[in-house]
Symmetry: C2
Subunit: 108 residues, 2 copies
Amino acid sequence: MTKKTVNQPVRGSTTGRPIMVLLDILGQRWTLRILWELRDSPLSFRALRQRCDQVSPTVLNDRLKILRESGLVQREDGTGYRLSQAGEELGTTLLALNRWAETHWAGR
Amino acid sequence: MTKKTVNQPVRGSTTGRPIMVLLDILGQRWTLRILWELRDSPLSFRALRQRCDQVSPTVLNDRLKILRESGLVQREDGTGYRLSQAGEELGTTLLALNRWAETHWAGR
DNA sequence: AGTCTGTGCTACACATATTGTAGCGACCAG
DNA sequence: CTGGTCGCTACAATATGTGTAGCACAGACT
């Protein structure tokens, strides 16, 4: 896919249940990571890419498109990409994941 | 990949930070969905597959392998697959995601 | 014995998604 | 006008996921 409309519920989610759509979006590679990296400060496209182990711009742009269409991420001229209000709330959930990981996988 | 050792940090995660490993695991397609479907009752391989829109057994087995090696999911003869103690805690986080989705995407 | 039905799971060819590199056009500084 | 940044696209190579078929095992029933 070099080009795609990206406004359909991604995979599976035939039920239309919001959670399914969300799980599909988050279940795409790099999506969670992107949200995580944006969690405390806005980042430019290139800076974000660098933080995400130099993920290919193709994928990064694709994910950002989806995240923007989902209202999780916004773009501001000058600052770059940042979490929306709603995105921030989801970011809080990610902090819970972090706590979980630190607790259960300290040794890894 | 028909076969793989599946015990390395998946992608990127060169830092070794637990959260990165976790994000990589959860960022694989179907992984979140599997955890979600197991959230309140154990399911057999086939039942789980049915709940996950008939995901291919190849992938399901792959994910279950990873989830078991990560200590998130266990298999019990008779009942099938179920969340471990640690997995339950992660499941709670998924409930937060659900709440988020219901709140912000009620209309979708 | 034989055939149902269910289980977990593997094989494999086909389709789709991701990666990596190159590079464009726009902007700004010197 | 050169050299830096920016967001982003093109495209071929590769990795990953899909879908169907089917195996080996177990228990129930005839």
